[in-house]
Symmetry: C2
Subunit: 159 residues, 2 copies
């Protein structure tokens, strides 16, 4: 049960975009070059972020990707869900239906104690991811490594 | 990012075993028949539980699987980890190493804010699963459905 590596790329790309001017679009090629990633595959992840309204995408000579909303309104959960989908990691197939007293008209996702406990864990995971925004990450990085934002802007300008 | 369906089977099989006598071994065939599951594949999951000391396995005419320890000492996390492995869902590839100022001698799993936040969520998930034992599940089921344990024993006797 491992996440797509695109999650890491998308998260870092969004954090990097918090340090750019709000009206500055950056291409997938530049975002990929920043970490030496394959641009076509990163582009696929960025398109997934556009689809759910985390990024906007514009075409043309000064086109590229921008954050679609304020970084303090973009949580890690938003990004992870955009890439990985919103389904729980635990898949309840409702095997109790085949057990003694099992019923076809019962939704075991809501009535099976195993399923409920697994869902509880999934919610704890989501709650944790929803509690951190890309703005939080950027602020912590800047606090621990003063100049990180400036360095990121300079790097993008030089690519 | 979905779990193996064997997780659901293993969890339910362990809960069912809490209702059997401590010295009563039950075969993979019987455990599988309980929910109409494929016995060979369930057996594979049960062997994984034996490997980490959740179940014991004995051979012979009265052989089969038993809980290796008290049900209140077997958490959902123990079972999930036995089937899915103990790795975090988020895979930190340390892409910061390729970024500006990136260093080969830094373990980014411990120093990258993205990685740390993702790990925090993973820990929240683990903590939730570690907070529930198969004994807790069995007790809740018995409370909501009095006679569930008795019914389970009768079903196993009849298979």
């Amino acid at each position: 049960m491992r996440m797509n590596e695109g999650v890491e790329w998308a998260l870092h790309s969004c954090v990097n975009m918090t340090w750019l001017d709000r009206d500055e679009a950056v291409t997938a090629k530049k975002l990929a070059a920043f970490y030496d990633l394959p641009a076509a595959y990163l582009n696929k992840q960025l398109q997934a972020l556009v689809k759910v309204g985390i990024l906007t995408s514009t075409s043309g000579p000064r086109g590229g990707f921008k954050l679609a909303r304020r970084p303090d309104r973009i949580t890690l959960l938003d990004i992870v869900t955009a890439i990985e989908g919103g389904e729980d990691a635990f898949r309840c197939e409702g095997i109790l239906r085949k057990g003694p007293g099992g019923r076809d008209d019962v939704d075991y996702r809501a009535h099976c104690e195993v399923s409920l406990a697994m869902r509880q864990a999934d919610l704890a995971w989501r709650r944790s991811l929803a509690g951190t925004t890309v703005a939080d990450i950027a602020a912590t990085v800047e606090r621990k490594h003063p100049g990180a934002g400036e360095g990121t802007r300079a790097r993008f300008a030089g690519i």
